[in-house]
Each structure stands twice: as C-alpha cells, then as structure tokens.
C-alpha cells in the first residue's frame, strides 16, 4: 500500500484554507444520520466529541476513567503556545511554524505544522470564551511567558495547571453536548479491539470495566485519541492507566505505526528512589528560567555526596560544573528538552551524579534567591517547591533540588494523512496518539496546542472528506465481523485468566520497562537494540505462561485490565526497537551513539556544532517510517513517506 499524505498543493500558507474550500461538505440534515465513535476524552478526544456533536453528528465517546475530566491531559503544567503576538515581540504564524519544525529536528511535515500554527490563535479565543481562567495582567489582558526552544513569549498559562483548566473547559463543552443528547458518554469502558469491515474501520469492541461485559459498537467512522505510549518504559510521568492498547489493536488490524522511536525524555523530574516506585513526577520546565543545573567537577566530590559525607553547600563554586551553561552559552539552562536530558545522562555516566542511586543532578536556586529574594522565588514557583518538598522531604529553599530525566511524551504514533485519517479508511487519530506534528522532538507547551487543534478545528472539518464517501449507518453490529472480533476479545480475556502463573502483571511491566529504558532510552546503539529484540520475545513467552491474575473477568478486576495493557506493551516494544534500529542517525529524541559529531567532522571544526551532538543523515532518513504489522515472530514491514521541505531548508539544529 502506498502512503499518500494528501498534502494540498499550492503555497504553504494557503494550503489549509484552500483544502477547506476544496473539501466536500455534509449538509446539516445528513450530519445527524452519521455516527462517530471517539475513544479517549482528553484534550483531543473531548474537544473532537464536543465539536462534532455541535455540528450535528451522533457521537459515542469512551474512556477508561470514571469521568471524562480525568484524562491525563489534566496533568500538563506549563502552558499552551499560540502565535497571537500579544507581547509585540515579533511572533507570527511563520515563527511558531519555524520554531516547531526546527525543534522537531526537521522530521515533521511542513503542511501539518503550518496548519497547527495557523489555528493556534483560535484555540486561545475558544478557551477564553468557555471560561478558561488563563493568567492575566492587572489591565485585564492575558499574560504570556517563554518556554524552552523559543525566544518569544507566546505561552499562555494558568498557574501550574494549564492542562487541568483547558481540560475542564473541554469537559464542560462535552457535558453540554451530553445533556443535549448529541454525545453518549461511556465511562469506565476500555476499547479492546477495532472492527474492520471490508477494509474500513467501522466500530470497536469494549469491555465495561465495572461489570466485565464485552460489547460491540458500530459507527460510520472511528476516532482514536488515546494518548501516547510512554508507559512502555514502566516508569514515566504518564498516569498509571495510560496505555497503547487502542493504538496497538488498530495497528494489528492494519493501521501503520509511524516513528515510534521518537520518545521525549523530560529533563526535570524527581529522581527514582526505589524498586517499589510506581511513577515519576515532573517538575515544570519553567523552573529552568531561574534554576541553575550543575554537578561536581570531580568524581570524588560526587561520590562523597552520594555517600552522605558531603552536601551541595560543601562544594565550592570553582568545583562545580554548570554543564549546560558551559556547553550552550546562548541558551544555557533553557536549551530544549532532548539536549538538556542527554547532558544530564552524560554527567551521570561520568560518575558525577549526586542522588544516592547516582542518577541525579542539582537544580539550584541559591543564586536566584540571593538576587531576587526568597519571596520573589516563592511567588514564581511556590507550588512547585511545595510539591518537591512533599515528595522528597527536602526543602528546595535551603538546598538544591535533585532532578533526573524521565520519559514524558511520545512524538511517534499511528500514521495519519493531512486529514488525520490513518491508512486504514475510516480510522482517524488525534493528539499524542498520532505521529504528525512534532517531528523527532516536541517543544514545551505544544502538546496542548496540538491536541486542541486536532479536536476543535481540524477533524470537525476533515472528517467530512471521508464521511462524504460513505452511506450513513451502512454497517451495524449485526455484521458477522463484530461477532467474530467479540469472540476473539473474549478468548483473549479467557486465556489471560487461565494462565494462573506465579508472577504479578507489574513484575513483567517493570522487567520490560527496565530493558527498554536501558536499550532504547536516552541513548541507543545497534548492539543494544538487537539485544532488546532478542529479549522481548522471552518476556512475552514467560508472560503468557506465568502471569497471575487473581479474581474473575466478570467484574472490576484491575489486574486483568493491566495484563491486557502490558501484553500489548510487550508487542509494541518490538516495533519501537525495530524503528530505532532502522533509523541509523540521531535526531531529536532519538539518539544513536554511533551517530554523533566528533572532532574530525568539518561542521565541528567550522564551529557550527560541537562534539557529542546529534548527527542527522538527511540524505538517507528524511522520511517518516511507517510500520505495517505482520504475523507474530516476523519483523514489521517498513513503508516510507518521504518528507518534502518546500519552505525551510533542514540545517544543523544548534542552540549553542
């Protein structure tokens, strides 16, 4: 199958407008005959469900949580970007577009990113109209701040809980449509499979998590907005329930998985403290505006700190290595996430880490407190300092925070065309679950922007392109394919329950996560990836013969839920490692040790970059890698979508 991205022709800035004009419309009387399934109720799914219902479509929305308002978009702290230029500091649609393309290390589609920048302003207008309480200045106008990888102030924020405020706005819009009868909400219902009829996605099979009942739902189109796959690493900043099951089930049914190797490791998280640890907590990137990151210059000092013989304050100024300021003098502590994370890993690999485990660096506010006073720092970061103190038991006003990178966001996902439809007709994918807008690395405050752009402004228009070719209600759950898939789902649940082995689901998840973090984490190489690909099948074999799930499938059973998710994470991990192995270059969140600049390179001699930086190979890898699922035991098949840069010329991404 060929991959047609369906990017409209014409000048970049006109593509979205002309596409909307050229696309077919569905008249209001016909809209109400079409039924659309939306899986996921976060910023992308919730906004899509609400808006499609406003347009007149019948919508069924599913989420595994007990309320649509609890989707993990809620945990986003920092903010949302928009090219409003309210600060008069030279921002524009083009600049937001360019920063996002460069931040993604020239591995995103130009047309998608430009559309994202175009609709960014509409998102802010929409959210304010819904009552989202963004931060304001004394004159009553909206306030902005700057974020990593940008030199303008274009980030709108709501204290440290922008995600929660945007999601509540979206959830309230959704609730309004539920009350009107346009959306039927199915909470505590998890999608366990996709139903494909004559090559088109026409429904899903779900399990009611409370009763255990497995049921089928048919529709004219299916939308997945089910988030990312960060929990394949076990420990991440994702919520405990975040999983890849819906996306992976769709992949098994024929949808291509694109660029899974692009995973984002966030530099400022609280370090791991023990084996029992269940998740990692993010400390907002905004802390890097005032905090200085350092480790001791000498291994001896670092060792003494790890053993509790010395404290941070015992290390004199000349014995500290402020490594980001040293390596990236112009961006300093505010360089993008992938770069800051890798630098922390290098310092710890050099045995200069400071946490008891050796995996931690200091984020120090002493200079900022001395310069601006403790009250000013408290006003800026009070809630974050308090959160740190609650978790670690240490007071960051008195001693520096300890931080370490953690898995945070995944840029890869199901392949979609310009209309956000996958290669499987009828299946549309939004938000973090698709691969489309962030290339190899996402800039801060862009995830919320993409989720809401997809849900409020893109899919309500582009879904008509597909629906206009369909007869409404043509497929119902009476079609035998629904019964067949339902039986497969029930068989799988039954097999899981019947294993009755000796190990808990979590023990397998932890084993898989440690392996993937070690071999396909912040740095990867060919030998490590091959080793991971040999070990994953062994984990799978043991899982399917030795996992223990107490209780029954006829009711609430968290172990059974987790088992289904972990089984898919194990399979997904193979696609992830195949993609990382195939991409023999370094770009953004994908760093291959064999592909970094060395002293011998002309670019280093010319001062364009420095040793140890990511080295892309545009001649060989300027493409999207979209993987087709094959039979168990066979490697996935690679399909390429060549990336065409008409507006910008890919260059060395420097923050020096």
């Amino acid at each position: 199958m060929s991959l047609d991205s369906k990017i409209p022709t014409g000048p970049l800035a006109d593509k979205w407008t002309s596409h909307k004009v050229d696309s077919k419309l569905i008249n209001p009387a016909n809209k109400r005959k079409f039924k659309i399934i939306v899986v996921g109720s976060g910023l992308a799914g919730g906004s899509a469900a609400a808006t499609l219902s406003e347009l007149g479509y019948q919508v069924d929305c599913f989420c595994y949580q007990d309320s649509a308002r609890r989707a993990h978009s809620i945990a986003a702290q920092g903010g949302i970007n928009a090219a409003k230029n309210y600060q008069n500091d030279g921002d524009s649609i083009f600049r937001l577009f360019y920063d996002t393309i460069k931040g993604g290390d020239f591995r995103a589609r130009e047309a998608n990113v430009h559309r994202l920048a175009e609709v960014s302003s509409n998102i802010i207008d929409q959210c304010v109209a819904q009552g989202v309480p963004f931060a304001r200045e004394y004159g009553g106008l909206l306030d902005n701040r700057s974020f990593g990888g940008a030199q303008v102030k274009r980030t709108f924020y709501a204290r440290g809980q922008t995600g929660q405020q945007l999601l509540i706005g979206c959830y309230q819009a959704l609730s309004k449509e539920v009350a009107k009868g346009g959306v039927k909400m199915h909470t505590r219902n998890e999608m366990l499979d996709l139903v494909v009829v004559d090559g088109h996605a026409k429904g899903i099979v779900v399990r009611n998590l409370v009763t255990g009942a497995v049921t089928s739902h048919a529709a004219d189109a299916v939308i997945l907005a089910t988030g990312g796959y960060g929990n394949v690493f076990y420990l991440s900043t994702n919520a405990m329930g975040c999983n890849v099951m819906a996306a992976y089930r769709a992949h098994k049914r024929g949808a291509y998985m694109a660029n899974p190797c692009y995973t984002q490791i966030h530099p400022t998280c609280i370090p791991v403290s023990g084996d029992y640890q269940s998740k990692l907590t993010l400390m907002s990137e905004s802390l890097r505006n005032d905090g200085r990151i350092w480790v001791p210059k000498s291994r001896e000092d670092a060792k003494a700190i790890r053993e509790g013989k010395k404290k941070a304050s015992d290390i004199s100024e000349e014995n500290r290595d402020y490594y980001l300021e040293r390596k990236y003098p112009s961006f300093g502590n505010l360089c993008p996430r992938d770069i800051a994370s890798r630098a922390a890993k290098e310092a710890c690999d050099d045995e200069r880490g400071v946490a008891a485990s050796g995996l931690g660096v200091y984020l120090d506010f002493a200079d900022a407190i001395a310069r601006d006073g403790e009250d000013a720092i408290r006003a800026r970061y009070g809630n974050l300092f308090q959160m740190y103190e609650k978790i670690s038991g240490d007071d960051p006003y008195k001693s520096p925070m300890q931080i370490y990178p953690a898995v945070h966001y995944t840029m890869g996902g199901l392949w979609v065309d310009y209309n956000l439809m996958s290669n499987l007709p009828g299946l549309h994918v939004l938000g973090e679950a698709n691969f489309s807008d962030h290339g190899a690395n996402r800039l801060g405050a862009s995830a919320l922007m993409q989720g809401l752009a997809d849900g409020y402004f893109v899919i309500p228009s582009t879904i008509a392109v597909y629906l206009a070719t369909q007869k409404p209600g043509a497929v119902t759950t009476d079609h035998p394919e629904f019964k067949r898939v339902e039986n497969q789902v029930n068989d799988r649940l039954k097999s899981l329950m019947e294993i009755k082995g000796n190990r808990s689901v979590d023990s397998f998840h932890r084993e898989l996560g440690l392996l993937i973090w070690d071999k396909c984490g912040m740095a990867r190489d060919e030998a490590g990836l091959k080793e991971a690909l040999e070990k994953i099948p062994k984990i799978r074999d043991e899982f399917w013969t030795n996992v223990r799930i107490p209780g029954s499938a006829n009711g609430l059973n968290h172990e059974l839920e987790k088992a289904g998710r972990v089984a898919d994470f194990i399979d997904f991990a193979e696609v992830l490692c195949h993609d990382a192995l195939n991409r023999a270059e370094s770009c953004g969140g994908h760093f291959r040790l064999e592909h970094q600049f060395t002293e011998a390179d002309q670019e280093v001699k010319d001062g364009k970059t420095q040793t140890g930086e990511a080295r892309r190979h545009d001649d060989k890898y300027l493409y999207v890698a979209a993987w087709e699922h094959t039979d168990p035991g066979e490697p996935p098949i690679l399909h390429k979508e060549e990336l065409v840069y008409e507006e910008v010329k890919p260059s060395i991404r420097s923050y020096k």
């Binding site: 906004s47 609400a50 406003e54 949580q65 007990d66 309320s67 649509a68 308002r69 609890r70 993990h72 809620i74 945990a75 509409n122 207008d125 929409q126 959210c127 304010v128 109209a129 819904q130 009552g131 309480p133 304001r136 004394y138 009553g140 106008l141 909206l142 709501a158 809980q161 995600g163 929660q164 509540i168 959830y171 309230q172 819009a173 609730s175 539920v178 909470t187 409370v210 405990m240 403290s273 023990g274 029992y276 640890q277 269940s278 998740k279 993010l282 959160m387 609650k390 038991g393 402004f457 808990s504 979590d506 023990s507 223990r548 107490p550 209780g551 009711g555 609430l556 968290h558 172990e559």
Partner: protein, 253 residues
C-alpha cells in the same frame, strides 16, 4: 532507608450489592520514601503472591491533579495532612507500629463499586445540568475582546482549582456537595463570559445536586478542611447569594 511495619484495617467489598467488611493486613518493611499508594501496591503484590484478590482503589495520575484517588485514611478523606490528595501522602508521615484505617469516600450519592472504588458520576450529572458556558466551537471573538479584571480572573481560578475528587462530600456529616457545586458555579459566575447563563446555571446545578441525594450544608466547614486544593467555603456563600437572586428573578418572571 528506614522501613516501617504497619497494620492496615481496610474496607473490602466484592461489588455494589454485597456487604462490606474490614479486613486486617500486615504491611511489612515499607520504605518511608514510598507514597501511600505505593505502600498499598507493595501490600497488593504480596496478596497476589498469596493468590488473594488485591485491594481495589481508584488512582491514575499519582501527582495530585486527576482527582481519581479517593481514600478515607484514619477517618479523614485524603488523610489529616493539609492540602494534598491521597497519592501525595508519603509514608514518612507514619511511625513504626501504626495501625491505619482505610475506607472509601462515603456518601449515598457515591455508591461503592468495589473495595475503595466509588461511583462519583453524580458529579458529572451536576456539570451536565448547567456547569458550562455555551460557547460553540468557532463562535469565539478574539481573546482580548473582553478584558477580565485580574481580581475576577484570580477568584475564578481559585474556584477552578477544584479537581472533582469528592473529599468535600466524604468529610461532610450531611454528605453535602456544596463546596464542589459552589466552586464549579463560582468559577463561571465570576467571569464576564459566564454572565448570560448565570441564573439558569445556578438553578440547574443546585437542583441536580438535590436530585442526586447530597445533603444540605450546615456550615461546619469540614469540606474546606479536607479539600486538597484548599478551596474556600466562601464560594458556598457566593452560591447561596447567586441562588437566592436567581430564584427571585425566576419567581418574578
């Protein structure tokens, strides 16, 4: 790292229709740096090894924002520590040999689903009744068309910080949802964008709250004391004022 040995007294209930009971569990060698939910993970891991059903509890983000975790710990929703959710509670707050009582959030309007898991969909129905501003996608004017005085924006934000966990209901002897409903209404009623539907919103939300079986407010402020986001009971006073005015206008018209 210091380790604790504790006794847990946990509410176990097979499903919504069955009788519940308190069961005792030994929680041995718990690291003080573990979170409260990680402590239960450790206990559950041992229960699974012994082929017993683990303790079911709602949780998701484990960073105090999704509002899913919901335990009553030693009689207090989210524990006696101020301004946190259960997932933000850490074991260093406990001592060797402690006995800890763990129960679900209790209210008629929050029926138990299993063990510590409750059904809080009554909150969703209150929002569906009117807890929104009708702003159809695409209809919005420029975000700066209506400046909002900072004091109003901040007051709206203070109310909007509610995470919908329901601790306020579980702490109230009447199982009143007034802190939740007042926070949600107050958020929107404080903003210029929320004025058009202010009366209808206020009346609809309060009426739905009554229909769901929540009790009345008798101004004891347990709700404010346990709220993980420290939302002020002053919002209840505002809701009462808005409700009175809306009722008067409804009667007159």
């Amino acid at each position: 790292m210091p380790l604790l040995n504790l006794t847990l007294k946990v509410w176990r209930q097979d499903n919504a229709d069955s009788e519940g009971r308190i069961e005792s569990y030994e929680a041995k060698e718990i690291p003080t740096s573990a979170s409260f939910l990680e402590m239960i993970d450790i206990v559950n891991d041992r229960l699974i090894k012994d082929n017993e059903e683990p303790i079911h509890f709602d949780h998701d983000c484990r960073e105090g924002i999704c509002g899913m975790c919901s335990m009553t710990i030693n009689g207090v929703p989210h524990s006696k520590e101020q301004g946190i959710t259960t997932c933000q509670l850490h074991m260093r707050k406990f001592s060797e040999g402690d006995t800890i009582w763990i129960e679900p959030f209790r209210a008629n309007a929050f029926p138990v689903v299993k063990d510590l898991v409750t059904d809080r969909s009554s909150f969703d129905r209150i929002i569906q009744a009117g807890g929104y501003i009708s702003a159809r996608t695409g209809s919005a004017p420029d975000a700066h068309a209506t400046p909002v005085p900072k004091a109003d924006a901040d007051a709206a934000f203070d109310a909007a910080a509610c995470i919908g966990c329901g601790a306020c209901v579980a702490a109230c002897k009447n199982a009143s949802a007034m802190l939740f409903v007042s926070a949600k209404a107050s958020h929107l009623n404080h903003l210029p964008q929320g004025q058009v539907e202010k009366d209808s919103r206020t009346l609809a939300m309060v009426r739905q709250m009554d229909e769901e079986g929540f009790g009345n407010c008798t101004n004891q402020f347990e709700c404010e004391a346990v709220c993980p986001k420290e939302i002020s009971a002053e919002h209840i006073a505002k809701l009462n004022r808005d409700y009175l005015a809306a009722t008067a206008r409804e009667t007159v018209s």
